[in-house]
Amino acid sequence: MSLNLRQKQTECIARMLNLNQPLNAAGTANEDVYKILIYDKFCQNILSPLIHVKDLRKHGVTLYFLIDKDRKPVHDVPAVYFVQPNVSNVQRIVSDASKSLYQSLHLNFSTSIPRPLLEDLAAGTLNSDSIQRVSKVHDQYLEFVTLEDNLFSLAHKPCYVQLNDPSAGDKEIEELVEKIVGGLFCVLATLAVVPVIRCPRGGPAEMVASALDQRIRDHLLSKNNLFTEGGNFVSSFQRPVLCIFDRNFELPVAIQHDFRYRPLVHDVLGLRLNRLSVQGEKGGMRSYELDSADSFWVANGSLEFPEVAVEIETQLNKYKKDVDEVNKRTGGTHGAEFDGTDLIGNTKHLMNAVNSLPELTERKQVIDKHTNIATVLLGEIKERSLDSYAKKENDMMVRGGIERGDLLGVLRGKGTKMDKLRFAIIYLISSETINLSEVEAVEAALRESEVDTAAFQYVKKIKSLNVSLASANSASRSNIVDWAEKLYGQSISAVTAGVKNLLSNDRQLALARTVEALIEGRTNPETDVYLSFDPRAPKSGSGASSSHLKGPFKEAIVFMIGGGNYVEYCSLQELAQHQQPAKHIIYGTTEMLTGVDFVEQLTLLGQKMGLGNVGSSSTPAQ
């Protein structure tokens, strides 16, 4: 069984649009039933990466509305609702039923609707004498946004601030954990798998893992089990492992500048729900869609940006060659000779040209799209020196330090205020020990650039309080670098720097390395102390460390609490492809964050702790 989250969620949505009846063999709905789709803002974000408007037509949806919009009655048509179970949506549904807007209402809630809310719905429809309008009520367990085949987001924001807020009470933390557990449960229900859960000890990861384990256990005991497909005694080879981490496990990944295509597009241009708006060639804004239907994006998203530019050039040359070949075979050079054989050949070539024209047009559109995106990216890279930031930050993470002159030079050079703040935070995290004079010089340089230093001071504070943050980062350095450092002395530091530059491209994220150890089941001093939860095992045997739990896994689900990004996703996909035999890794997070988004959350936390520029109400400009 291959876990393809996007495909499974799309199938669930298609069945929901078919009024929860099985689809026929063609995969389309019964053509005699037309219906109206009503969703709220959150469910719109769930639907838009998966279903296009023309796909809605195929499923018989003729109209689609936001639930909060005023809608006119269409008496003969059933309505399909896809909303979150909350009070305002329930009240809105009751209002629609009392006005008799539609023939019947098929209610689909994105996750399980609690009993009190269901009773409110019953009371409202009963009081307005419209109980007969409600045809069906379903829990869909689809409350997550699937961006790619192996990438999902729970779209909770801003999660990191709530988890790390010093003034947050236990009740708020528990509500947040329950929300995350609900989202993860929806993902597992859609995939119809019961995973083995691994997580580090302590912190939000353990809270989420424990609550999720209990939730799955309770559900397995109840009737109408969502996981009955799996059976009770599947072998460990077929069950995936769910690895839950906290953002503080590897903080610099969320802040660091990266130079691969997919992370760059997300970080610099603001990719959101697989859509992108960039400045067009003639000044207007152009909107593009980047998803699994774009073969260029799928094939080249993990490349470094210069390689992507070369690939665009290659595709363009190939396209031009194909167009020239089509023109040559159908062109006028043969027209001068009035010969029977050539005329027959010309006719065939003409037919081939007409048939290949749509494919060529589509390829041209893809090439134009990525050419425009690459052009805008290149402008941003030059304006902000992003290549320099990415390289220097990578050097700092690998080497653990930077020359003071380089450090202050970057902070006084090109780049937005956020770029400098991110660079300073990476410097702070990558240093083994805090050099007070250097830190003060960095803060002075940041203030010269009018940067709000609340985030910087917050990271400095948690670094001094939490040594494990530093140890996690120091462990992320490659062993090869240590070997290279021993072999070459300082007398040939230039050669050493060159070697490190080559090696730095192969640096693995701590997350990818840890996930690799968990998948393989190897003995590892870091991961052996991780907690294990098996919802299918008897709870009394929780102390037993059977090899069954730690065996090699074929599939994995990696979840990051507090925000994630495409850098981690690309790293995990590379890990999955390089394994022998090939593994399958799904990456998920509470929220897809750019570096700027995350630093803004750090700034908020710093301000809550009373750090930063007191009285300064200006927000950092981008």
Binding site: K8, Q9, E11, C12, R15, M16, N20, D32, H75, D76, Q103, S104, N108, F109, S112, I113, R115, L118, E119, L121, A122, A123, T125, L126, N127, I131, Q132, V134, S135, K136, V137, H138, D139, Q140, Y141, A189, T190, L191, A192, N224, L226, E229, G340, L343, I344, T347
Partner: protein, 261 residues
């Protein structure tokens, strides 16, 4: 495949529970629960009936095409006349649908023209409203002059500030209303243009179909031409043979006559 959990039974339980708490008696509760099971047959509007009838016609057309697909494509099963009759029946409904669509687009164009005309008088009303607001501000200024003599200086300054803020807010809201109305007018025009474009696209589809037919006919003509050329080449070859034979016979005739005399 993940499954959706059916909560309709839970909903019915909640309805039953809530009905009892609201004081429903057993008979009324039974009738409410019965409305779940026996849904009232919906009253279809005439438009829906006509639309469903059209859909049935299209379905019948689809069945007709499926039924005659093999007949149409197999050369031996049908003659050209039968094939023409199949095309004829299909094209009747197709042309009728096109004509209905064209009429509908004309009617809609009239409607949008009316909408555009209605948008223009609203601008005039807006001008009248602005004149009224100007007069209101003038009268408020006149009212403020009398209390100036009685009130103290700080109150006068404060009232002046409030008046300025009110006037600025009024100007801002008026400009916002103008912008919204302008946007509405543009949206209506865009909608009309979009429907015009749809009509033109349908027309172009017909033209493209005509071009395709002409291209197919041209291909057939080219094939016939090639066939004729091949036959001409063959006849040229046979005529050469006949010419040689003719010359040979003439030569031997002359030799025979010379020998005989």
């Amino acid at each position: 495949m993940g499954k959706a959990r059916d909560r309709t039974e839970d909903f019915k339980d909640a309805v039953r529970h809530t009905a009892r708490s609201l004081g429903y008696d057993e008979a009324k509760l039974a009738s409410v629960m019965a409305s779940f099971i026996i849904h009232k047959p919906p009253q279809k509007s005439p438009f829906s009936k006509a639309a469903l009838k059209t859909l049935e016609s299209i379905g019948e057309l689809d069945q007709f095409l499926l039924k005659h697909r093999k007949d149409y494509t197999d050369l031996h099963r049908t003659t050209e006349k039968e094939r023409d009759s199949i095309e004829h029946e299909v094209l009747i409904l197709s042309e009728r649908l096109h004509s209905v669509t064209a009429q509908f687009d004309q009617l809609r164009a009239v409607r949008f023209q009316d909408a555009i005309n209605k948008a223009i008088p609203r601008r005039k009303l807006n001008r009248v409203a602005r004149n009224d607001s100007a007069e209101t501000s003038k009268s408020s200024d006149m009212e403020l002059r009398e209390p100036e003599e009685l009130r103290a200086e700080p109150l006068r300054v404060q009232q002046q500030l409030l008046d300025d803020e009110t006037r600025a807010l009024q100007v801002e809201l008026t400009s916002l209303l103008d912008t919204v109305q302008e946007t509405e007018t543009k949206m209506v025009e865009m909608s009309a243009l979009n429907h015009l474009m749809s009509t033109h696209v349908l027309h172009q589809a017909q033209q493209i179909e005509h071009l395709y037919d002409q291209a197919v006919e041209a291909t057939n003509n080219v094939e016939l031409g090639n066939k004729e050329l091949s036959q001409a080449i063959q006849r040229n070859s046979s005529s050469r043979t006949f010419l040689l034979l003719f010359l040979f016979v003439l030569t031997f005739s002359i030799l025979f006559l010379d020998w005989y005399s």
